[in-house]
Symmetry: C2
Subunit: 197 residues, 2 copies
């Protein structure tokens, strides 16, 4: 977690990014089966062996690009005022997760995953990282000694409806995502006791 000193970490980060984007782009262009690891490393300018120092498999590299969605969301969550209700913090973060740029990325990923089902598990894993990260962020705000189940349940429910929005948005490209997030969190706030529409 320490930033370490410069060049080394920076280069690693750049190499990882280069490999991730190369894999993501190749998957977009040719489909998941349309390229081999060596194609990725050629594009990224490193050797095949190096690829496996960063990722365990091709699929991980492809979905890694979406990790920035995770990073942005977590950064935002940690920056929310400490006295803000947890529910409201999550609502704000939810809006960021489904920003236009992020949705574009997530939809490209979904498109690939539709054709190549084997990618789905890795897509889900990225989301799971986000849920667990958010949980940790919330726990820090809880009064000491407070049982952790409440924030655990809250964060799972919140990211559940966020996922619902993403799924729905993929099927209904016309809908305003901001509205969907509002609708989803209204349902959540009302305990799903109103159907609204």
């Amino acid at each position: 977690m320490t930033p370490k000193s410069g060049i080394r970490e920076t280069k690693k980060h750049e190499t990882r990014r280069a490999l991730g984007f190369a894999a993501f782009d190749l998957a977009t262009e040719r489909g998941l089966q349309g390229f081999v690891v060596e194609d990725v490393t050629t594009r990224a300018g490193v050797s095949r062996r190096t690829f496996f120092n960063y990722f365990n498999r091709k699929e991980e590299a492809v979905v890694s690009v979406c990790g920035f969605v995770f990073d942005d969301a977590m950064t935002a969550l940690y920056q929310r005022p400490a006295d803000e209700p947890l529910f409201d913090s999550l609502r704000v973060v939810a809006g960021l997760v489904v920003s236009p740029e992020n949705l574009e990325l997530l939809n490209r990923l979904s498109t690939i995953a539709t054709d190549f089902h084997e990618l789905v598990p890795y897509e889900l894993a990225v989301r799971e990282r986000m849920v667990l990260g958010a949980h940790e962020a919330l726990v820090e705000r809880m009064p000491p000694g407070c049982p952790s189940f409440y924030p655990l349940a809250l964060v799972h429910a919140a990211f559940g409806v966020i996922q619902a929005v993403i799924v729905h948005a993929a099927d209904h490209p016309g809908d305003q995502v901001t509205d969907l997030i509002d609708e989803a969190f209204d349902y959540l706030r009302a305990g799903f006791q109103t159907t609204k529409s």
Copy 2:
């Protein structure tokens, strides 16, 4: 979806089960890296090539055993009275998902996944199948023409808190799961406006 006639389907089903359990047991005994596909097929009594007619990879076979959790839950959901509120149906099904036998299975799987991180994505995929299946079941009960976002959000939130219960139960083996499910669905019903504990 048609049952087809007997022997053929039955044998396929049995072969799939045999491969799944062989893989699951081997993973429990030796860990995910402690065996190769050929070990699975030897135990199941088929050829190595046949394995790949049923699963794309070893990991899929290992988690496939948990598919029965999915099947049971879906069967139960379809059998709920049609006029029962969706929320209540999901609450009942939630109790079944975290039955003692299922939890034993899910915990064994979690244990393996803890040691062998590469299994996690496949674990998540099984859960995702359950969420989408439940959504379909709920949609059938909605009045025709009703927008599908409400049940989509509901089912994602519900399985979100179920996942929270499973995660929590893995960390706190002493807790009563039935109580956790009640607590989780109470939170959900109350829109997370009460902390309770």
